[in-house]
Symmetry: C2
Subunit: 183 residues, 2 copies
Amino acid sequence: MPRAEATRRPYPLAKVYGLLEPGPVVLMTTARRGHHNVMPMSWHTMIEFEPPLVGCVISDRNYSHATLKSTRQCVIAIPSVDIADQVVRCGNTSGRDVDKFATIGLTPLPASQVQAPLVAECFANLECRIFDTRMVNRYGLFVLEVVKAWIDPRRKGARTLHHRGWGSFMVAGETIRLPSRMR
Amino acid sequence: MPRAEATRRPYPLAKVYGLLEPGPVVLMTTARRGHHNVMPMSWHTMIEFEPPLVGCVISDRNYSHATLKSTRQCVIAIPSVDIADQVVRCGNTSGRDVDKFATIGLTPLPASQVQAPLVAECFANLECRIFDTRMVNRYGLFVLEVVKAWIDPRRKGARTLHHRGWGSFMVAGETIRLPSRMR
């Protein structure tokens, strides 16, 4: 596998919230015994700025649920509209049946802190460890800590996907500046 | 106050996730002893489709935190870019000091199931009751149940705001259709 550093730069953990707070569809990757998996996910929220904590709801009907629970590691990768077809195919197939990376044409890259792979085609990749599993049985809600973040500097301004349901996706539009004092 | 029904229609609870899952900035309203408050919020995620459960992270530094905790009711209202200025002013002032509705020029409307007001200027309004407070002390994470939803049918396709931080907001772009089987 090519090294992440070839196309990526470390991204400050204090700025991670700005990537997730707008609500993009993300890809979550997991790995167990050399077997990679990747699934799309939209049910996530920031919980703390720094260290960045992210709440993610993952149904136990998803193959990734058990892998995340047992390995306690994952990567949250943020795709842009350019790979919308691959994102959709990720959601339409199960890692139980196929090697989704190979089938769908996504490239796994080694991460630095976790076994789960980065996704080369995504403009941002967040290496995560489980921080709290107390809400997993009740809601499928994992609290993750982002321990390392990567960004592809060539992809600044990448337009994210935002899921409305049943095949309908909003594509990120323009960014405007307003006199807000909110972090 | 004018009645909500004048400009609003009930919206199916099963479709509420499609409003929140794309990750818009929302306004949360609360009310206690006749005093209304409203604050912007972006740290939210769907937790269950139906009944719709929403996880919201609200710092205890926000005036609304205590009101929500004690009244166990709120409204999540979804603004469009047309009222971006009011959204920003909501975040730049505290309900401790002023009546934000009056100061900012937002119109409270009576809700049907909760004391907190709807926001007339928002295209969607979700009446919520607290479902679970077990994560409030640790993370400020409230689990809310949406008990009634309203939409303004004249505002179909309203463009939402998505917070990137420090005055930077992404405005919702086009909606595309893809062959996804994901609910």
